[in-house]
Amino acid sequence: MNQCPKCNTPLLDFRFLIDGKVEELTQWCPSCNANKLNRMQEMSNVAMIQLMIKLGVPNIYRAAHLTTAMYDLSSLEFVKGTIWYGESGVGKTYQMVGMLKEAILTGFKVKFCDWSSVMCTLRCKPEAYRDIVNDMLNCGVIAIDDFYVDNNYTYDYVYYIIKTLHGAGKRLLMTATELPAQPKIAMRLAEMTNQYEVVNEWK
């Protein structure tokens, strides 16, 4: 690891979201450039919140970030997607939005979907499924909040969406109360993602 010629601090790489674009600073000294890095971090945080609003991320998750446990467990190279599942309120969506922010800083175009809203659209207007899929195909990383396939009426559409995303090699971030059990959907999701059961340890 290279060191700063002035203070011998190891040089690091930084990524910020400035004016809607990812700016990468390679081999910067965190001590000598502390003021500038702090300023850029603040600007990046504001830009990220604005982007979360634009993506439709609910208010309580806009400031989310990955926990250390998730950093340790997951490769941030986005080779695979991730499913977080578990009871309501354990922090699944929080983790997902944290990962979504990492994806943005890695340079991916992202989409956030509230699955219940997608299902409402499909029930009212089934032919909208092509627009939903095309919208998703325009992005590299798709985050689906609260995924479920309980409804037989919409099963074909849901299967088509998952099959298309699988075929297109998209990275899927997903939260669900439980892992979807339907074999054809399960097979594809298992191939596309790492799965984590989220539990809380209260202190």
Partner: protein, 89 residues
């Protein structure tokens, strides 16, 4: 609905062989009330290709275990503190 002939007929026979009489009876019972039967693209050929008998009779704890063989989940423990404030935006 088109009745398969020749090779397709043989494939259908081969596909249905492993199922017991009870399983097939359950399948037809469930099929009568399922969405599959209302699907205009439903055919006996599709029944073989997409393994619809297993899809339709699936359900219950036992099948869930079999289905879960596809997943390899890990447990993610998140430490939280009582009276933890909500994140500020």
């Amino acid at each position: 609905m088109a009745i398969p002939r020749g090779t397709k007929h043989a494939e259908l026979q081969e596909y249905l062989k492993p199922f017991t009489g009870d399983e097939l009876e359950l399948f037809f019972k469930k099929l009568a009330t399922s969405q599959w039967v209302n699907n205009e693209y439903f055919s006996l050929n599709r029944l073989v290709k997409e393994d619809i008998v297993r899809s339709v009779i699936a359900g219950g704890t036992k099948e869930l275990e079999a289905v879960n063989k596809y997943y390899h989940p890990k447990r993610l423990v998140i430490v939280r503190y009582k009276n933890e404030p909500m994140p500020e935006v």
